[in-house]
């Protein structure tokens, strides 16, 4: 009996809703993002690989795996090789905490919200290492910018998550989801709308999307921190970026949009929850793609100033508002 349970757990980790599902869904999200972005710009976007080009990110991945993998002479060989792997592993690991097919993630422990926040911070650090280890001038500038941007977005990101934790009085993702499902019977976005907006803006910076794609600004510093990466390593980085997209939108769903919960037929919850999860993350991705097609790229000083001047005060105000609501006994 125990072996069967163990087998199911392993299958959960590897197949669904673990690594394979997340990777496939990451590619799907990349396709969705690219397609939407293209349509906003009156372009066609990915078209030929698979129906409507849906397999394009997968094809890109395979193509990159087959490409020559160059390690520059000036690079730190160990760091240069390890960082892409580590980035991929870390982004896969965070996804284990995201509730996809049930109200809790595959892994769930008390205080896992803090753990997830901490690991998501490691993304930024790893990017800095990636640029630093490759020993290229453009990478160094990209690394500096990543560091600066990191200082800018990480705090509002954390503050917006904290206001959710305060409102639900819990640091456990499963409790936050069940609070929305059972106690509040509403998604938390109704209570903390400002935190949701701040979360979205900071996650644009976290994902390095326009208008915050400063660390890899193509026209300025070529590709920034990833300029020296090629072949398999670049493929891993790109896959990690896709997984980060799943993570950011999945966490947004769990924290603000009531998790994967939705109307479903009893007994078939995992299927329906997955469908609701996909619909809700697509909505989040739709907003993110929309935002990134609307703006020009900010300069790094403008990014830092903007985040500290506007987002952090609003995040603090949101926390105060939550405190007030708790004090009044509304939530």
């Amino acid at each position: 009996m125990e072996t069967i349970e163990l087998l199911i757990l392993i299958l959960k980790f590897i197949l669904f809703p673990g690594a394979l599902f997340c990777i496939a869904y990451g590619w799907f999200l990349e396709w969705f993002d690219r397609k939407l972005y293209a349509r906003f710009q009156n372009r066609i976007g990915p078209l030929l690989t698979g129906p409507k080009g849906v397999l394009q990110p997968f094809a890109d991945f395979i193509k990159l795996l087959a490409k020559e993998d160059i390690t520059p002479a000036g690079a730190d060989k160990f760091g240069f090789t390890v960082t892409p792997l580590l980035t991929l592993v870390v982004s896969l690991f965070t996804l284990l905490f995201i509730p996809i097919a049930s109200l809790s993630g595959i892994l769930s422990l008390s205080g896992d919200l803090l753990l997830v926040l901490f690991i998501s911070t490691v993304f930024g650090l790893l990017i800095m290492f990636a640029g630093y280890f490759s020993g290229n001038r453009f990478s160094i500038v990209g690394t500096e910018r990543t560091g600066l941007q990191f200082v800018a977005y990480e705090i509002p990101f954390a503050l917006s998550v904290i206001s959710v934790a305060l409102a639900t009085r819990s640091l456990e993702i499963v409790n936050i989801v069940t609070y929305q499902v059972n106690t509040l019977k509403l998604p938390l976005i109704v209570i903390v709308p400002v935190a949701f907006i701040i979360y979205l803006i900071s996650s644009l910076a976290k994902l390095e999307k326009i208008p915050f794609d400063v660390p890899e600004a193509e026209t300025e510093i070529v590709a920034g921190w990833q300029v020296e990466y090629s072949g398999k390593k670049l493929a891993f980085f790109r896959l990690a970026t896709d997984l980060k997209m799943v993570f950011v939108s999945g966490l947004a769903v769990a924290l603000f949009l009531g998790g994967p919960y939705g109307p479903s037929i009893p007994g078939l919850e995992p299927v329906f929850y997955t469908i609701w999860f996909i619909i809700k993350t697509l909505v989040v991705m739709f907003i993110l793609s929309n935002l990134r097609s609307l703006f020009a790229r900010y300069r790094i000083d403008q990014v830092v100033r903007g985040f500290w001047k506007y987002l952090i005060p609003f995040a603090v105000l949101q926390i105060l508002a939550v405190q007030l609501l708790i004090f009044l006994g509304v939530i």
């Binding site: 001038r137 193509e218 097609s293």
Partner: protein
């Protein structure tokens, strides 16, 4: 001493080009940067030297029409038209009015397409890809108009010595007028976008400042000069073609930054649309070209036009045969190169692409053999090495004070 060493380590050099995503052509700029700040700029030109001027000496006047057109892909009509009218003056013939009008129409349509292209590139440089895509979509309208008139999208081959090669029928005229309406509406919309969109303002306003004094001193031309408050336009100052008859305004802004350069070009596009419409409505009837004797007696002429990027200068010397003895071209980008180095100093790395793009550079058409500087009515000839030495010397003398001034603001 220790402080100096630390300084030394913080400062390092970033090469931009010969291959770089921000540059669509080959050119090398070396930026000395301290973190995100640009301290010094050095540039090296000549990567696309094609020996066109020498080649022109071995071709006839008619063959050279198509060679000159290929100096620049974007302002091909300006090059060809300028060459054609300079040869006309050399030979002492005048093109018939209808021919001149059609030539002017092509120039203005080309200005529309060039400015829209630039606007798209500028949007791309500041990371606003949506605007880039939409502008380039609308630019297709004017591209198809040019294709309808000339049969080509890029090198129109419309001008010839003594007039133009194709006529415009009434049916075509109506199509062009319709296309111009679309363009006018869209361009006005883009002007509004450029003036109101906060991210564009954040990246363009007060960036890449070039003061009026420096503009005059460093001899900037075209929209770059007009954005710094210098009121120059060859079309008005030294009318050629049909410009003495066509009504138009010279657009001048005096904020001296990238935003001014954007707005000058948007407004000029609107002016060009109005001018094209006026030309079509007042198109004189008659012949489109006169005959031209193949051999030209000994003579020399300096012709200039206002290309989309600024003053374009052609010097042609004839020697009694059917081939020119000397053909010399000075394109606007060369004149704008020293000013752009001036604009870049003291800025941020992030501003390099948009400031560089701000002069609408066309390096391929700039790279020929020599450099003629027309400063304060004196004319002398420099090769690119001397130019480089000059720029280095100039920075050594003035670099620090310019940076200091910039940081005071």
């Amino acid at each position: 001493m220790l402080e100096e060493e630390v300084e030394e380590k913080r400062v390092f050099k970033i090469p931009v080009g010969p291959q770089h995503p921000a540059l669509k052509e080959f050119e090398n700029f070396t930026f000395t940067v301290d973190g995100e700040k640009v301290i010094d700029v050095d540039f090296r030109i000549g990567y696309t030297h094609r020996g066109i001027e020498k080649l022109a000496e071995s071709k006839t006047y008619i063959q050279n029409l198509y060679l000159c057109e290929r100096i620049c892909g974007i302002c091909s009509a300006a090059h060809q038209g300028c060459y054609a009218q300079t040869v006309e003056e050399l030979a002492g013939i005048t093109a018939p009015p209808r021919g001149v009008y059609i030539r002017t129409l092509i120039w203005e349509l080309e200005r529309i397409h060039s400015h829209l292209l630039w606007l798209g590139v500028a949007a791309h440089e500041i990371g606003f890809d949506t605007l880039f895509m939409l502008i380039w979509r609308d630019r297709e309208v004017v591209m198809s108009l040019l294709e309808m008139i000339s049969g080509n999208r890029v090198n129109y081959a419309m001008s010839t010595v003594g007039g133009v090669r194709r006529d415009i029928s009434d049916e075509l005229k109506h199509k062009i007028l319709k296309g111009l309406d679309v363009l006018e509406e869209r361009t006005k919309y883009y002007k509004e976008v450029c003036m109101k969109e906060q991210t564009i303002l954040a990246r363009a306003a007060n960036v890449g400042i070039l003061s009026k004094e420096k503009t005059l001193k460093l001899n900037a031309v075209g929209p770059t000069a007009r954005a710094s408050g210098v009121d120059v336009d060859i079309r008005r100052d030294d009318p050629y073609g049909a410009y003495d008859e066509v009504p138009f305004e010279v657009i001048v802004y005096d904020t001296c930054d990238v935003l001014a350069r954007i707005l000058v070009r948007v407004d000029e596009t609107i002016q060009s649309i109005l001018m094209s419409r006026w030309i079509l409505e007042n198109l004189p009837s008659g012949e489109i070209r006169t005959k031209f004797a193949r051999k030209i007696a000994e003579n020399e002429v300096l012709g200039r036009v206002e290309a989309p990027r600024g003053e374009l200068l052609y010097y042609i010397k004839s020697n009694g045969t059917d081939k020119p003895e000397r053909l010399k071209v000075r394109t606007p980008t060369l004149a704008n190169l020293l000013p752009v180095a001036e604009m870049l100093k003291g800025g941020y790395i992030a501003d390099i692409p948009i400031v560089l793009a701000g002069i609408d550079p066309c390096f391929a058409c700039m790279d020929r053999a020599l450099f003629i500087d027309e400063n304060s009515e004196k004319t002398w000839v420099w090769d690119k090495e001397q130019l480089r030495i000059y720029s280095i010397k100039w920075y050594k003398e003035h670099g620090k004070e310019v940076v200091r001034e910039r940081w005071k603001q």
